[in-house]
Symmetry: C2
Subunit: 201 residues, 2 copies
């Protein structure tokens, strides 16, 4: 019997996935959590064979929960299940030790088979997505550029960003300019769009 922990914030989807897995005779959903920061405690208490983690969750992302789990329960296989086939997500997940990366777009039957393959020690990745990840590669941005770009999502003007990061407005503009050149964008907004599409956030 394969013991599965299920982490997914949307109640409807979580319940539905549980019922889907409940149809499998060799799979048992032993824990369900709705927040990223509840994954570790739940996993410690039930010691699952496989953890199925959504990425977008309150508290902590699935990728953060993945890192915690790897440290605390090295024997537990981890599958990431997400809406977005962002190559950056895939790369980070696999580098952090995930056993697989599933898209919610994939057919429902693949879920159970992915779990069985993960338990058998295989790594499960959508082939097309893997190719995209390799071709698109990592973010070309430096840590600071990444930070400034991320802050520009929440603050409307350069002055606001500068205030939030304790930088001079000129520095913020320089960083953003560098970001735009690297991403071949004509705009802060366009740069943001491109970075989000690639999963670099």
């Amino acid at each position: 019997m394969i013991r599965v922990l299920l982490a997914e914030d949307q109640g409807m989807v979580r319940g539905a996935l549980a019922s889907l897995l409940g149809l499998e005779p060799d799979i048992d959903v032993v824990a369900q959590v709705a927040r990223g920061d509840e994954v570790l405690a739940a996993a410690r208490s039930v010691d699952p064979d496989v953890a199925l983690l959504d990425i977008e969750m309150p508290g902590a992302t699935g990728l953060e929960a993945l890192a915690e789990l790897r440290g605390a329960l090295p024997g537990c296989r981890i599958l990431i299940l997400t809406t977005f086939g962002r190559p950056g997500y895939l790369r980070r997940a696999m580098e952090t030790g995930a056993s697989g990366f599933l898209l919610k777009d994939a057919p429902a039957q693949e879920l159970a088979s992915a779990i069985r393959r993960a338990v058998a020690g295989e790594r499960v990745v959508d082939p097309g997505l893997a190719a995209a990840a390799l071709s698109e590669g990592e973010s070309p941005l430096t840590a600071r550029e990444h930070e400034v770009l991320a802050a520009s999502r929440n603050y409307a003007t350069v002055a606001d960003i500068a205030g939030a990061l304790y930088l001079s407005p000129g520095t913020v503009r320089n960083h953003l300019s560098s970001v735009m050149q690297k991403l071949d964008a004509r705009n802060r907004a366009e740069a943001l769009k491109f970075a989000e599409e690639k999963g670099w956030l």
Copy 2:
């Protein structure tokens, strides 16, 4: 037996919801589609009692499919199931004749009961979301302002927007200026963010 049509683009979620509904003795999922523009044809062929529609789908949105269905199969109850509790979505859905509006955040058990209540003629809406919709009201934007703002998602510069809509750059700036004042935004980007959060798109 309640005959249900299920429209949801993500295969994993669609299959999971189907299995969830399959547990209910009085509910039968008689059709599944992955695209908004396949809803009508499928509904015509199986004549379901209830159509469960996701909003975000390729081909046509759930709200568009809703409008088609109301015209073609007036007896069919329609439930909207979506990730985003945007008051604008809710308002449009209910005005177009939906029997209910469910959030994927809600507990899984609510799905079956919502379907039964819809069949019984009730209208099913999350109380908190309904209150938010009433308080936030409708979009204050005119049709043209709305259109220009929407176009600014896809085009980076004023010149691009103007070209796409066959307007002069000055006119586009005027419309956007008016939008920003109405939404109390300091930016095109901020205005876009606000409008998206409210579901005015």
